[in-house]
């Protein structure tokens, strides 16, 4: 290695002088203690600095092998210095050094890609299975929200305008001409411009999902309200299309991306409810520990929901606009639903299977 070669040249070698003459000169016992050890401290500091800068490649093999020993030497020096030395500057240095080394040695052990592999290979599905009860609760409220939207609009069409923002309806409203409604379900002729649309949908939907999770903090109630209001919109829309005799086509149109997207929103809502529920009913644990355990589990579910929303954005932006046949659309949507269900129930870690 070029670096090994460089370190043989005196100029590149970093200070590894043994200050024997200085140790003799020091009149205080505690200063002699410190001078005998400070070479090791500074070596540890160099290693820790390289780790902090994210350049572990710069650490030589010898340094890496000695790291645990150097760390323990520094902690022991600190323990001794606290009891024998009154050199405030040296103790402050050691405390900062040991703290920095502690964060590196006992810090996160995985790289981001390693975490992602473990996450996709079982961590995500396990977290989803762990919050099954919250998923059931979220599903119930989503179905209830849809029903509410349907019932409200079927009784009094004016509710539609309260539930669906004007910009979103785009002519799709109660009593609209069935031909206009059918037009809105038609695929577009080409894929031009759809990729921007897909990216836009993704970032927008993920925002909603993250909001559903974050609002769970207030005991889950705002999350439920968010789920109900979003699903009421869907129920109102559904009623409009069914009334025009386009129920099958609308469900097929929606299912292409909807099974994935609604699945992601279901998971995000469930994650929010999970956090809120553990804070409201912590059981034997303190509220803080309960919130932390739930938060970490819910964060995994949320990271997965983001991935689902990327898939949903692609399906919505491309596939739905290009595939026009309702049965084909329904087939794609159903297949996606089956894939997700199989993944969440079937994907287990090897260790988990052995147990």
């Amino acid at each position: 290695m070029a670096l090994d070669y460089l370190s043989k040249i005196a100029w590149f070698r970093q200070a590894e002088i043994a200050p024997s003459a200085e140790i003799e000169a020091a009149s205080l016992r505690s200063d002699r203690f410190r001078l005998e050890r400070e070479v090791d401290w500074q070596r540890l500091e160099r290693i820790v600095t390289a780790l902090e800068k994210g350049r572990p490649g710069r650490i030589s093999d010898d340094d890496l092998l000695d790291l645990p020993v150097l760390y323990r030497k520094a902690t022991s020096s600190l323990a001794v210095a606290r009891e024998t030395s009154l050199d405030a500057a040296a103790i402050a240095y050691l405390e900062a050094l040991v703290q920095r080394a502690w964060f590196q040695i006992y810090g996160p052990r995985e790289t981001l890609s390693g975490w992602l592999r473990g996450f996709l290979g079982g961590g995500w599905s396990r977290a989803v299975r762990a919050i099954w009860l919250d998923i059931c609760i979220a599903l119930f409220f989503m179905v209830a929200g849809t029903a509410v939207g349907w019932l409200l609009v079927s009784r009094e069409p004016d509710w539609f305008y309260a539930l669906v923002p004007g910009a979103m309806s785009g002519g799709r409203e109660p009593g609209a001409d069935p031909e206009v409604l059918r037009q809105s379900l038609e695929p577009t002729a080409s894929a031009d411009g759809l990729s921007v649309f897909a990216a836009y949908l993704f970032s927008n939907n993920t925002g909603v999902a993250i909001l559903a999770f974050a609002l769970g903090f207030a005991f889950g109630i705002p999350t439920l309200l968010l789920l109900i209001s979003n699903m009421a919109l869907l129920g109102a829309m559904l009623f409009v299309f069914v009334e025009a005799g386009l129920g099958y086509e609308f469900v097929a149109w929606l299912s292409v991306h909807g099974t994935t997207e609604l699945g992601a929103i279901l998971l995000a809502g469930a994650a929010g409810i999970h956090v809120g529920r553990s804070m409201a009913f912590p059981g034997q644990r303190s509220v803080l520990t309960a919130a932390q355990g739930a938060g970490v589990r819910a964060a995994q579910v949320m990271a997965g929901a983001t991935i689902m929303l990327v898939v949903a954005g692609l399906l919505e932006g491309f596939v739905r606009q290009l595939v026009g046949e309702p049965s084909m659309r329904l087939g794609i949507g159903g297949a996606m639903l089956a894939v997700w269900c199989l993944y969440f129930t079937g994907m287990r870690k090897r260790r988990e299977q052995a147990e």
Binding site: E22, A26, S27, L28, R29, S30, D31, R34, L35, W41, Q42, E45, L51, E52, G54, T75, S76, A79, T84, L86, D87, A88, A89, A90, A92, Y93, L97, V98, Q99, R100, W102, F103, Q104, Y106, G107, P108, L112, W115, D192, G193, S195, V196, A199, Y200, S203, T206, I210, L211, F213, A214, F217, A291, Q292, A294, G295, V296, R297, A299, M302, A303
Partner: protein, 294 residues
């Protein structure tokens, strides 16, 4: 000590936490102050904001129509830039903090500048899930209130007021607990601590020994304690001439000496060495003297 000084001291003492390492050593950790955290956040937001201003200015300079999604999609190059732009907006909102806090320093550039970092509460290992959880919550705590303010949410009447109160709960959350936890910290099991970096200063007793000239007896050395020793150490390391003179005068008054017009630094260095030797030998026998009053 003035009342202000003692008030500052008790406040900063309230932020001290101990971290017990697996080696059984108690390391002091200090919870970062709310002010430095707010400033770090402001710095990060400014970095993001100016990053975007630069990108937008560059794109407009190239001659692109950024008004609408449809306008962008008209040309193939515009389409690619549109996707990248929307994704960049998204990742700067959710990815920036995540990426930097997952790094070895556990801190965003703003936090790094202010010398603070993220750590797991209770001496645990900081995990990827914790960092994800605390940054997902950031959305309701930072971005939505900011957009609410920018969008003039107060005008919306009763709902606007309710939303304001609701968001204020999140924003004021760090002021309602000892560890200055925001809601995201609470959910993730993390907190933000000071990450001090200290340079190793020179050893003090390396200067030539002057105990030939100054001999301090038991009576003179038992006047002061550890606190005064550390103040003296600070003065000597600072090397401010006026302060040296003042301190030398005060010590001479206290121990009843008259050094005449000798070199103050020489006198103080040897007094420091003698006092430290005296106090440290007491320490070895388990006798500690906290300050001059004890």
């Amino acid at each position: 000590m003035t009342r202000l000084q003692s008030a500052i001291q008790t406040r900063s003492a309230r932020r001290e936490r101990a971290l017990i390492t697996p080696e059984g050593l108690a390391l002091p950790l200090r919870v970062a102050s709310r002010g430095s955290r707010a400033l770090a956040l402001l710095l990060d937001l400014m970095i993001l904001f100016f990053g975007f201003v630069i990108v937008i200015v560059a794109l407009v300079g190239v001659g692109l129509n950024l008004d609408s999604v449809e306008g962008l999609a008209q040309t193939p190059a515009g389409e690619v830039i549109g996707i990248v732009f929307i994704l960049a907006l998204f990742f700067s909102r959710y990815g920036y903090f995540l990426w930097f806090e997952l790094g070895a320093r556990g801190a965003t550039p703003g936090k790094r500048l202010l010398g603070i970092r993220v750590a797991a509460r209770g001496g645990q290992r900081l995990t990827t899930e914790m960092v994800i959880a605390r940054n997902l919550m950031r959305d309701v705590e930072v971005f939505i209130p900011v957009f609410f303010m920018l969008g003039n949410g107060f005008d919306a009447g009763l709902t606007g007021g309710a939303a304001f109160v609701w968001l204020a709960v999140f924003v004021l959350f760090p002021f309602c607990n000892r560890d200055a936890l925001r809601a995201g910290d609470l959910v993730a099991g993390t907190f933000v601590v000071e990450a001090p970096r200290a340079k190793l200063q020179d050893a003090m007793s390396l200067a030539p020994d002057h105990r030939q000239t100054y001999r301090f007896g038991e009576a003179e050395l038992s006047v002061y304690g550890e606190h005064e020793l550390q103040v003296l150490e600070g003065v000597l390391r600072n090397g401010d001439e006026a302060a040296l003179h003042e301190v030398a005068q005060a010590i001479c008054r206290k121990i009843g000496w008259d050094t005449g017009r000798s070199d103050e630094r020489e006198f103080l260095t040897s007094f420091y060495a003698a006092l430290r030797a005296h106090l440290e030998s007491g320490m070895r026998f388990g006798k500690r003297k906290k300050d001059k009053f004890s």
